[in-house]
């Protein structure tokens, strides 16, 4: 019985205490709350440290997307790199879950702390590649996928990547 009364009074006390504490809500948009760098907001496509597109159009973000709001088409450029011919995110469908970022093997697609995605016209929420691309590497400043992969591109020849041996001479029978 004592326990029951204690619980009641404690609750009332806690509620009353909040009357004197600092408010958590802010006067948005005049005041903006702090959002951590890893907050899941608007999606961007980043670039390599050397400035070229990171996205290799592997389709993993699209397949991970639970609302199917990413569509793209791969193309091979003359320098051997694969890029997205078009890359489209329909933000009117996006639920900012971050699965695409998690799936991305090249750190190309990243979520940013920008959440201001309101539009009067739904059409304006369809972002094409030029709207998504930013001019920097985002959260991963050093990673360059083509230095890690085995394919030959403008970034490196066979055997010049990180953790790669020189190409095998198949005509050499020496042990």
């Amino acid at each position: 019985m004592v326990k029951l009364f204690y619980s009641q009074f404690r609750t009332i006390w806690l509620v009353l205490k909040h009357t004197f504490s600092k408010a958590d809500t802010v006067q948005y948009p005049e005041q903006k709350p702090y959002l951590a760098p890893r907050y899941r907001g608007r999606i961007v496509l980043t670039r390599d440290p050397d400035g070229s597109e990171r996205c290799v159009a592997c389709n993993l973000c699209a397949v991970a997307c639970p609302v199917d709001c990413i569509s793209l088409q791969q193309t091979i450029d003359d320098d051997g790199r694969k890029r997205a011919e078009f890359f489209r995110i329909n933000f009117s469908r996006c639920i900012l879950c971050g699965f695409c970022e998690e799936a991305c093997p090249t750190y190309a697609i990243q979520l940013t702390p920008d959440v201001e995605l309101a539009e009067y016209d739904r059409k304006n929420l369809v972002y094409e590649k030029e709207n998504l691309l930013i001019n920097g590497p985002g959260k991963y400043p050093d990673y360059n996928f083509y230095k890690q992969s085995g394919v030959q591109t403008d970034v490196k020849n066979k055997g010049q990547g990180e953790h790669e041996q020189q190409p095998v001479n198949v005509k050499d029978l020496m042990p």
Partner: protein
């Protein structure tokens, strides 16, 4: 399929019991442990084993633990693929011992496998990915550097990325041992071996495309597909039938964003097994080409799509004219039957010449009364006689099967030594160079020559004589065959001798030499020796025999049509999917210029379209559904992978619309649903097959054409409209144009192959009764020719037993080439680059006669037209004969009787070389341009296409 074992169903197999992790399973005692485990739908990783190629134990991946008895806790590791099964054996599959071992094998393979999956075309359908996940290997422990290789340029079809290799040796075993290729091998030593050609160059084998499917990872990739790539999970697929030749291989077409991306093999144990030829895999270029017809000509629309009313109003002015309908052997059975019903049997031309019609009737008779065999039976043959048909070029999948059949003598040796057939290396060593007898009578060299016991080079008429002589010798050993030359006599004698010892002899021939007598002799052979022979006769086109079923006494030949057109009464033509390549230039002009009106139903530009007053653009096979009949008379159904953009409609739909104004009114009330239409056709045409088997499934759960993980649905058309379109409804087939519906294996014709944990095409083993056997749900196969149908036997094709001996004037035969046999195939850019350069081939004696010995090029004049061609002098060629390849032969016939051959002057040779260079440049440019156009189109998927086509109202 494969290992040349006779096909039985699961119930007919003798099985023994084994215990896997304590569970009792039934396995086939003649097969290895891996096959037994997989047949029971258990997951056991493997790489080097293939159901068609047997085991060599190269990859060490399929390790299991073998225990002595139930109570034992520690066993020994063995490779399942190299282990025979014994009754009551105890196996550990999930025990820690073998599980850890398998994980370590993968981790060893991964030490050198590059970090490529995102940019690899195999990703998403990679056997190596699947097996890595299956073994549980997830973190790379090895910190050393990775081995690298330089790649090779293997031509326009196959991409090469050697870094990814895990040295399972499947490619070289397939390419050299199975497909008989000679320009591919393994080079280097120890862990630095490389698989490829001796130097860069186009792979010579007609079956090189299978490397893409045989390779468990991404070393060999499909180049045209990579250029316009989509992941397997994004492809909207449909089960279809290859339209490249008359074999009717089962294929799966993949579509994305409104364009066809690729074709892969669809397993069918009796027709194509695990393999396709390059014509079938890469020959779909015309579907996406700039040559496609996309608009009507001569029809005024009131709305966006053609309505029946529009067509009736626009065509009313032709109502009084007399029409003749010309069908085609590449159009579906529905189209041809509808065309016959549209204007009546007496106004129907099959689009064939008199000779072709006669050959088809003979072929039909052979199928009805004798034994025409499928590929499974071809692989069982212990004697093969090829009569004049170069099957490697005209029906390549048959040639691949024949290559397996010649192994039978070797397999018999292995059987005697009690070596099981799956022990590939041991069987091949035991067999040595022993081959079953393969006899070839042909005009010029073919790719099967290397496995032939004896080859005779003769002209077509002599080949008929040889057949007659073999027939005579078999009936009476002392028969007089002195009308033959000594070499031919020797050939007949040795072929007859081998034949007498054969249990399972097979005769292979075809229509490509356009010689009626060969077929008549085949028929005579069949009739004199009832039931002894199997036959594989190859007609020219995908639906030749479907068309044959419609031919009756009243059916007109092209010659008769020309006569009628030039007669007094003015006549008009309706030409459906026929480019008139069965006629000479002169014939085409006569036909097209003397017709009052020409209505063309066509999907690609042709000479007919250039002359047509009205063009109705029809759907090609990837966009429509229909029936085709293959060389054994089996009716198969192909389904649409995508909906065509209006006003493109299936041709039967247009024919139905025409019926109300130009026809007899039989088709108008057949309903606008293909099922109802087929039912009506079967009432109108007695030979029309019973299609209920093809329909039955759609009344149950419909199957999804897209994978369950298809992506981008809410974004792919968002740039045009944010309002998502309703998916297209498909009332005509058992499939949905969406990811909704049953999984792929719900249908007997699977749109694509997938099983949980198995993303590659190897997942097919989950849907077979046992690995390499029949599918658990076999696709419906209906025979078009009913042997018991009395009415069918009234064919007027008397057998001419006295073949006249040939004279000495030069006979010219058009050269056949896998990439240059038909007018649709050659629209593929890659085929234009790899087809032969125009040539003439003859013997040294004949070359001498035409003074060609010294010159590299010849000048050929046919009916006033001049061609420059390369000269090939080859002693291995029939004498008094020439084989001629011209680029134009896919468009029309040539009258070789008026041929003039002389050495080319040097100016002509220069012009020829220059033109060749220019052509290659043009083709490459056009290829790039087409790719750019397709990529632009990807962003503008027609929303009407998404939203239901015509049915959307």
């Amino acid at each position: 399929m494969g290992l040349n074992m006779s096909k039985v169903t699961i119930d007919e197999r003798n099985t023994i019991n084994i215990y896997v992790d304590g569970v009792k399973l039934q396995v086939d005692p003649e097969d290895n442990l891996l096959a037994g485990v997989l047949s029971n739908k258990l997951n056991l990783p493997y790489f080097c084993w293939h159901p068609s190629m047997g085991s060599i134990g190269a990859c060490r991946q399929c390790a299991v633990t073998i225990f002595d008895d139930e109570s034992q806790t520690r066993g020994r590791i063995a490779m399942a693929c190299m282990t025979p099964v014994t009754d009551g054996m105890y196996i550990g599959l999930g025990d820690e011992y073998s599980t850890v071992f398998r994980e370590q094998v993968i981790s060893a393979m991964m030490t050198n496998h590059p970090h490529d999956c995102p940019v690899c075309a195999e990703g998403g359908e990679c056997h190596l990915q699947d097996m890595t996940v299956m073994t549980g290997h997830s973190v790379r422990d090895y910190k050393g550097d990775k081995r690298t290789f330089e790649n090779q340029d293997l031509g326009p079809y196959i991409g090469h990325e050697m870094n990814r290799c895990i040295t399972c040796y499947r490619c070289v075993r397939y390419y050299k041992d199975y497909a008989g290729g000679t320009d591919f091998g393994v080079f280097g030593s120890r862990n630095k071996v490389c698989f490829g050609r001796q130097q860069d160059g186009v792979l010579e084998s007609e079956f090189s495309g299978n490397l893409v499917e045989v390779c468990p990872t991404g070393v060999f990739t499909d180049k045209p597909f990579s250029a316009h790539y989509a992941r397997k999970w994004d492809l909207q697929s449909a089960p279809s039938i290859c339209q490249g030749c008359s074999v009717g291989c089962n294929i799966s077409i993949g579509e994305r964003y409104g364009s066809v991306r690729r074709i892969v093999n669809r397993y069918n144990d009796s027709i194509n097994g695990y393999f396709l030829c390059d014509r079938g895999r890469f020959g779909f270029g015309y579907i996406n080409s700039d040559d496609r017809l996309t608009a009507c000509k001569g029809i005024k629309f009131s709305g966006e799509s053609p309505s029946v009313k529009d067509i009736h109003i626009s065509l009313a002015k032709y109502k009084a004219e007399k029409f003749i309908a010309i069908g085609s052997s590449r159009a579906s059975l529905e189209t041809n039957t509808a065309l016959k019903q549209l204007l009546g049997a007496d106004n129907f031309c099959a689009g064939l010449t008199q000779t072709q019609m006669l050959m088809l009737q003979l072929h039909q008779k052979l199928i009805k009364q004798h034994h025409c065999v499928d590929i499974d039976a071809i692989e069982q043959a212990d004697f093969v006689l090829i009569l004049g048909e170069d099957v490697t070029q005209t029906a390549p999948r048959i040639a691949l099967a024949l290559r397996q059949s010649v192994r039978n003598a070797g397999l018999a040796i292995a059987d005697r030594l009690r070596i099981p057939r799956w022990q590939d290396e041991a069987v091949r060593t035991a067999a040595g160079k022993t081959l079953s007898p393969l006899f070839i009578a042909q005009v010029s060299q073919s790719k099967l020559d290397d496995v032939a016991q004896e080859i005779n080079y003769s002209n077509a008429d002599d080949i008929a004589l040889i057949t007659q002589a073999i027939n005579a010798k078999l009936t009476a050993p002392d028969a007089d065959i002195n009308y033959l030359e000594p070499q031919q006599k020797h050939f007949v004698a040795s072929a007859t001798k081998a034949l007498q010892q054969a249990q399972n002899p097979l005769i292979v021939s075809g229509h490509s030499l356009a010689n009626v007598q060969i077929l008549q002799q085949c028929l005579a052979l069949a009739e004199n020796h009832q039931g002894k022979f199997g036959f594989a006769i190859m007609p020219s086109s995908v639906n030749s025999l479907g068309l044959a079923s419609l031919i009756d006494q009243q059916t007109l030949s092209l010659e008769q049509v020309i006569t009628q057109l030039q007669g007094e009464q003015e006549t008009s033509l309706i030409i459906a999917e026929n480019e008139l390549s069965n006629l000479t230039n002169e014939g085409q002009q006569q036909l097209l210029s003397s017709a009052a009106t020409i209505i063309a139903l066509e999907h690609s530009q042709s000479v007919v379209c250039a002359h047509a007053d009205v063009i109705l653009p029809v759907a090609c096979f990837a966009e429509s559904q229909g029936l085709v009949v293959n060389y054994t008379g089996s009716v198969q159904c192909f389904y649409s992978a995508l909906n065509a953009k209006l006003p493109i409609l299936p041709s039967w739909r247009y024919i139905q619309m025409l019926d109300g104004i130009l026809g007899q009114g039989k088709l108008a009330d057949c309903g606008d649903n293909l099922n109802d239409f087929r039912t009506s056709l079967s009432q109108l045409e007695s030979h029309f097959p019973d299609t209920f088997k093809f329909l039955a499934e759609q009344f149950l759960l419909k199957t999804a054409r897209q994978t369950h993980r298809s992506s981008g649905r809410t974004a792919m058309t968002a740039n045009q409209s944010v309002h998502e379109a309703k998916t297209t409804l498909d009332d005509n087939s058992p499939f949905n144009f969406s990811m909704e519906g049953g999984r792929a294996n719900n249908s007997s014709a699977m749109p694509f192959t997938w099983a949980p944990g198995w993303n590659s095409n190897q997942s097919i083993s989950k849907y077979q009764e046992f690995v390499g056997g029949k599918l658990s749900k076999s696709p419906a196969i209906v025979q078009i020719f009913d042997p018991n149908n009395e009415q069918d036997l009234s064919i007027q094709a008397a057998i001419n037993s006295e073949v006249k001996s040939s004279d000495d004037e030069l006979k010219v035969y058009p050269a056949k080439h896998i990439f240059a046999n038909d007018y649709l195939g050659i629209k593929t850019s890659e085929f234009k680059l790899t087809k032969p350069i125009p040539f003439i081939e003859l013997t040294p004696n004949d070359a001498d006669k035409y003074k060609l010995v010294q010159s590299s090029h010849a000048c050929i004049v046919i009916a006033g037209e001049e061609f420059t061609v390369q000269v090939k002098i080859n002693a291995a060629h029939a004498k008094y004969c020439a084989t001629l390849f011209l680029n134009e032969q896919v468009l029309r016939q040539f009258d070789y009787s008026s041929i003039i051959i002389k050495p080319a002057i040097s100016e002509k040779i220069h012009a020829f070389d220059k033109q060749l260079h220019e052509q290659i440049e043009q083709i490459n440019q056009a290829k790039q341009q087409q790719l750019r156009r397709l990529k632009q189109q990807d962003q503008f998927i027609p929303i009407r296409l998404m939203a239901g086509g015509l049915d959307d109202g």
